[in-house]
Symmetry: none
Subunit: 224 residues, 4 copies
DNA sequence: AATGAATGAGGCTTCATTCAT
DNA sequence: AATGAATGAAGCCTCATTCAT
């Protein structure tokens, strides 16, 4: 009833549904892109998975963008799932790497660490927006064998933030009744950046990161 | 008959990939569930779209859970997309309705309004977690004709929050250098609740909403 | 080296490789052919599996002969393997049924029973030659779940013949140093009939069955 | 590298369908195995064709067992069909060679010749069981150009047995109403040995051959 | 002699949808 | 309102083979 005014439509691939993210940059972290066709595949698959979702991006679609035939994909990856798994693994690894690097570089007090980690988290989601969106939105498309090592990485990233907050609370620096809730809220803020960030949207990734770091410190009750 | 002993040979889709959300409740807002099979379809489709994604949940899957055959689905909905569109429309409508109701019930100052709106936003994402996840994660699966009216609703919800923040800033009550960024961050916190909320996770939706309202007021620079 | 005089040839489907069997009759036992398309599928699949082998007969080939499209096959059978499994099950069931009926109808002495059983075995392989060839040649194409119930039937048929021979030996009527070897040899004679039998080859199935029954009694040392 | 943890995800073809034969020996007749990779290919192809059938054993499967890549197969054989053809040719040639040698070595009476030939036939099918199974079960996979010379060999073997029986009948030594039927039955007994023979099954090939020779002489009406 | 990459053909199967009943 | 049968399109993937290196 409520929808009866809508006529049945088969959506051709050219019509543009609402985009899952704004940016069009498919940048992968430095040093992880394989050479040759493998690397091209990874980039084109990333773009397609982001645009249409893993289930709706076909092997043929990817191959076409790479400039090879569908069958040739299998000279480089044993299955479509392996491509997705590699992308998501790269995304999670890079995220964790940056988070750890942030902690290592920061002064050893919870406030400095929180600022560093939230900045890293936010920057990662802005700079690798497409990778971040696919990593989150399509994780559920991975079979358990593929997902397990990735989930392990994810847990480490979460723990890292959680520990900082808990330490701040323990030291009486932070004022939050529910530390895990604070962790979840702070994490969520950064996650979402990947969906709307674009180099053209008027703020640099750095500016956003600075703002979000301030949001986070305020959120845990540190005046600023 | 002769083959009945072979029935069990095909492996059902049992593998449990990482879940997109924790809750298993498919609750739809009161008053919107159609009577009869239509309502059952809506609920089962919701669960399947949440579990597997729109593209990976087939008409046959839905029909099977409803207890009818795939062809019979078309006596109730003209297409699979219509089912998704109706679900997402319901989700967005209910969200906007609650947001507006929150503003209406709140005192007329930005702080009270912010608290009310963040509480409503958070509660909606906890109470209708499955609907919220599908509404966000699968919006991109809708053809533009389906998506347009929904995006209009979404913009209204965003505007509502943005306006409150802007008013707080204008009145000197809030201290944020970039009001839109604050809006995005606050919105993001609540969105994510839908993914991890569950009645069993130790906090009530109300408790979460209270915490998040405090997070929001702190985030805009109001001490609390 | 030995083959170097042969040029590489892709064999088009029209060229006729050596046939696995002579007969072209696809007869199935009475009462087991399902009505409608299912029955037609069974018959055409039988012919194709016999001609080309299970692995080389495609779903499209079968569908084409039936007069439907490949996808429509799945309204009738859940997989190609199910079609093969049903055929082989039918073949083994009918074979066992006839063997048992032969024993039941025969006088209660081992010679009469041997004659009856060998006649039944031979007749079954002549009259359902195509089914017999597929049942034997393609059993290995079935996954264990499909094969298990069929192997159980096969074992019963073998046991039936083995028991008769053993009883003849025990009663001093048969003179064979190795009863199992006799069973295998007698069984093998009949099996092979399916490959060369044809209504046009100058002997009736009955005549062959009579000859083979005599061969069998002589083989176990009964003068005749 | 980055994906090395995913290597184990694809399920290898482990399921054990009913085997077409029991033995696992891939022995080829002495003197015919080519040196180097060609010989290894022949042996591994033989094993795979026997296990899965020609159509279901891929060039890649064979190459993998040989320890080379699929493309390298073509440095040794011009096509997959050539490998099968060579195997079947070897099988038939060896069979005919042994049959002829048996006649040559036997005394010049039909009974002695029948015994010698049946022994040779049986021994060949026991000792080269795998080769025999492939030679029979996959002959139909060969294009006519490949099959023709092989069928010629086969006809010679059959003729050889048929002539002996006919001579026995003509001399009044054998008592069979239908000589060809006797030939077919005797041939069938031996054929089947290849499917169940195994060095571990309790009888030597010689013992089986002796038994089958007795079966054959009895079958043609010679007391023994 | 070996290989990585590529490819056209084709494999089985699923899908959303239609239509006569 | 429901369904069995059918179908065009498309899905992922495998295959035998080729070719430049």
């Amino acid at each position: 009833m409520a929808m009866s005014h809508l006529t049945a439509v088969r959506m051709p691939k050219t019509q543009t549904s609402p985009r899952r993210l704004v940016t069009e940059a498919t940048m992968l972290p430095p040093g992880v892109t394989p050479a040759g066709s493998r690397g091209v595949i990874l980039n084109e698959a990333l773009r397609l998975f982001a645009e249409r979702g893993y289930g709706s991006a076909s092997i043929r679609d990817i191959a076409e963008r790479v400039g090879i035939k569908a069958a040739s994909m299998y000279s480089h990856y044993p299955s479509k799932a392996h491509v997705l798994a590699e992308l998501i693994k790269i995304g999670h690894d890079e995220h964790l790497r940056r988070m750890r690097e942030a902690v290592r570089s920061a002064k050893n007090d919870p406030v400095s660490q929180l600022v560093a980690v939230v900045r890293a988290h936010t920057l990662a989601h802005a700079e690798y927006a497409m990778l971040a969106v696919v990593s989150h939105a399509e994780l559920h498309s991975l079979a358990p064998e593929f997902a397990a090592p990735i989930l392990a990485v994810r847990r480490q990233s979460e723990m890292l933030l959680a520990d900082i907050i808990q330490r701040g609370v323990n030291l009486g620096l932070f004022d939050v009744p529910d530390a895990q809730l604070a962790m979840l809220a702070i994490g969520a803020m950064g996650l979402r950046v990947a969906h709307w960030f674009s180099p053209d949207q008027g703020r640099t990734a750095e500016q956003i990161a600075d703002n979000y770091a301030q949001f986070a410190t305020r959120l845990v009750g540190v005046a600023s």
